[in-house]
Amino acid sequence: MTQTIIRGARSLRAAVAALPLLLGTALAGHAADIDTSKPIKVAMVPKLVGLSVFKANEQGAQTAAKALNIDFLYTGPVTASAQGQVDVFNSLIARRFNVITTTSNNPTQLAPALRRARKQGIKVVSYDSDVSPDARDFFIQNTDYAAFGKALVESVAKYTGPDAKIAILSSTPDATIQNEWIKALTAYMKATYPKMQIVTTQYGQSSPSQSLTAGLNILQANPDVTGIIAPDGAAEVGAAAAVQKLGRTGKVAVGGCSDPDSIRQYVKSGIIKESPLWDEVKEGELVMYVARLAANNAIQRNGTFTAGDLGSFTAKDGVIVFSTPLIFNAGNIDQYKF
């Protein structure tokens, strides 16, 4: 059953993929511009192995790697530690990889190892969570921070009303991307819903159990909270589970971002109405396109480029925005399996 769905989705994607290719050859052959004659070694290093969002990146990267003549390796630490990632980087440098792609556990600790890699001519492409700008060649940003901040607020605002008391449940106090989103959502909230109030910000350490505890604490300490924004995979699940446990379904709206597999049951039970994210599988494909282009020296830090069937993208100071937020709801969540 699921097999057929996936196969169906694949053939659909293949058809969609073929379309611009045909158009491309008809027009000027833009998409086929990428030189794939020389095989290159590219590694993808997630924050930790075994997390489903990163697996989704890997799935996309695998597909693209085959098409781009890339010898692909997916490797990372068992726990989300910077030391683990640095160990992996060092081994990749010793094994002379051409490109290292990574989503960082934190921006500063990884920088020296990646700078060392760049000094030896290895291209570094970060995605999802950035490292210090001088430690990488390109950064693929999931979505524009401001757009995502807006999507996060809207994921609860529609259901709580414009003067609600909101709580935030994030991952850790120093998580780069979560802090950027919180900054963006606060700014959007101030401008659009001036009466909305953030009463507390708690942290679940990216752990499902700690997030559940933090969610319960929020609801019990602040009975007037009617919305929780949880911009972290584990935090959104924890917040939704807390609402369910305390029987507040329908009274407290949970929004945030997480991979569809983890939140599917809560979206279906109506605790989560909307949850913005992006297509992780396609993002993985883009990471490989950028890796290939960077290894070919065929991409500028400022300028546009075409990534096969994904379309064309713009790099600005080495930062490439992948897509606009993709909003999961009860109607569309079953189309996404990661």
């Binding site: 192995v49 390796l73 490797t75 990372g76 630490p77 068992v78 726990t79 530690s81 910077a82 030391q83 683990g84 640095v86 160990d87 992996v88 060092n90 081994s91 010793a94 094994r95 002379r96 934190n106 500063t108 600790q109 920088a111 020296p112 210090s132 850790t172 106090p173 120093d174 802090n179």
Partner: protein, 346 residues
Amino acid sequence: MSGGRNDVTARRGASRRLPLGNWERALLVLLVLLTLGLVAAVPGFYPGFGDFLALSENFLPFGLVALGLTTVILTGGIDLSVGTTASLAAIVMAELWTGLHLSIWIAALLGVASGALLGLVNGLIITRLRTEPLIATLATSFIYGSIATALAGDNPPSGFPDSFNRLGTGAIGGILPYQIVLFGVLAAFFSALISRSAFGRKVVMIGYNTEAARYAGIRVDRIVTLSYVISGTTAALAGIVLAAYYSAVRPDMGSILLLSTITTVVLGGVSIFGGDGSIAGVVIAVLLLGMLRQGMLIAGFSDMVTTMVTGAILLGAIALKNLFAGRGTGLATLLRRLRIRPAATT
């Protein structure tokens, strides 16, 4: 048994004539074989002498922690707060540097001093409040970790001066890493401290039999407290070196230190029950585990496999140790009895 030898020294003497041969010597042979094997079999493991030595920068902070932790484990205690002590000391240093604009080196000294203070707190809780070291240091590890997170804030300092970063990744003449120099000097010091000084003998005595040590007139509480101060100091030093290695601090940067370091100490032949072990063994174990991990990673094994192998080595080492040292419970004791029984009947 000649005069002057008591039961403790007799057993320690006997344990040197293990059928395995000397534990440290076995480890050393293993280390040499492993290193030669990796150099021969893994391309990229030996890219040149300087780069080969630089591999040690990735694991020597574990060695620094192990030196202090060995002292504590020899007394029969345990220090579970070494990881958070390292984090907190590094953050104290960084905050003094950014907040009060102190010279980074003075801030680093104060960071190490803060580690000693945290160790003192551990020691006093254990000796004055009569708390089990396991519980006391578990509790303080939570407390130190929380303080570190609070102090670090949402944007922990990074980008230390290059002269300081060299402590983590620099090398004398581009060949001999500063970390090796630091670790070498401290290892020699600790080796002398444990096996040649009165303090070291008292530490071992307490670990072997606390009551006997007390009746022998040793100020047990003072020695135990001091061992935690030492452990806090070396943990803090490791935190400072890590800060230089990353040129950044994070409140969770020390959390990986604890379990790997306990593994190292046990593999080094130190009895987890205290009273037996040597610094030499621990130093060899630091190099052995470090080289093994670096070698496996460079050979292309994933972190998963590497971590699994480390776990298996810990299990194997502690089982072997218990089996032949005659301490511990379960299968090891049973096997030992089976081994000894024929001798007893004759």
